[in-house]
Amino acid sequence: MKAKFLIPLLIFLVISGFLGVGLVLDPKEVPSPLVGKPAPALSLPALDNPERIVTTEEFLGKPWMLNVWATWCVSCRAEHRLLVEMAKHTDIPIVGLDYKDDADDAKQWLRQLGDPYAVTAFDEKGRIAIDWGVYGTPETYLIDKEGIIRFKQIGPIDAKVMQEKILPLVKQLQEEAA
């Protein structure tokens, strides 16, 4: 008889448990099926020189980072400072992918805020970004020397992600390549 009173409490606790876990999960963070797979082809004109074609192949043999950004993307501005710092302190090439943007706006942005990118590929229509599974800017990928995507950050990089995830992995990837 006593146990009967505990049933609603038990149901309540189970539901609270599920809802609690649900609160902690971020629905925006869709696990990318691309991690562990070869990086998709890039083949896009460079932002500052439309005649130069940026391809995935040219980075084979060493680790590199791809950062998807746009001038209309507010959180890209927030993460940009960290990328500029990173470019100063590491020697991993950071490749920009300017997503559905205006070329002149993008060039001005890089002049004003600093240019951390070894090269920026200009994806005016966003077609290449679809191949990379981009669905929200900014997004950042780390690619190893074999051309395999090893990490994907969805949303802006903050100091914590930079220190705890990106920098250690960059070090590891560079050691693997050495």
Partner: protein
């Protein structure tokens, strides 16, 4: 009459909603058109996650609709379009996920819940039927008691 007008208005507003994000498209065959419609209703928009591609006006949804259209025009099958999307965005893009270990609870949960509910109802009814002291048509009062 008033009822009829209201019903018509309601139906019209609903039609507007369901056609919200769909561009006018030319198809080569009715099958292709059906495939396109099924696909944009089954694929999730990654930007507004509770909408499908057909409903969403997010830029990515427009791009992905164009992509679906282009692939069908090229003669790709529905399966190929779905594989293309899953390869890029994961199974999360599918509003109808495949049955596997991770989605088993999602698929069979409702059936399990229904079974539990039925079991509780059956037990409840049985217990009440057999409760002693209540009118039982089969119960015979011994002669001596009169």
């Amino acid at each position: 009459m008033k009822k009829l007008i209201l019903t018509t208005l309601l139906l019209l507003s609903w039609a507007g909603v369901s056609l919200g994000g769909i561009e006018t498209r030319q198809f080569e065959s009715p099958e292709q058109e059906t495939a396109y419609k099924e696909l944009v209703f089954e694929l999730r928009c990654l930007v507004c996650q509770n909408q499908n591609l057909a409903d969403s006006n997010a830029e990515l949804a427009v791009d992905l609709r164009n992509e679906v259209y282009r692939m069908l025009k090229e003669g790709k099958s529905k399966r190929e379009v779905l594989d293309f999307m899953v390869a890029r965005y994961g199974e999360f893009v599918l509003y109808r996920p495949p049955v596997d270990k991770a989605t088993a609870l999602l698929w069979f949960g409702p059936v399990i819940m229904l079974a539990i509910g039925l079991l509780i109802v059956i037990l409840f009814i049985r217990r009440h039927r057999n409760r002693p002291g209540e009118n039982d048509p089969d119960e015979i009062i011994p002669e001596d008691d009169y």
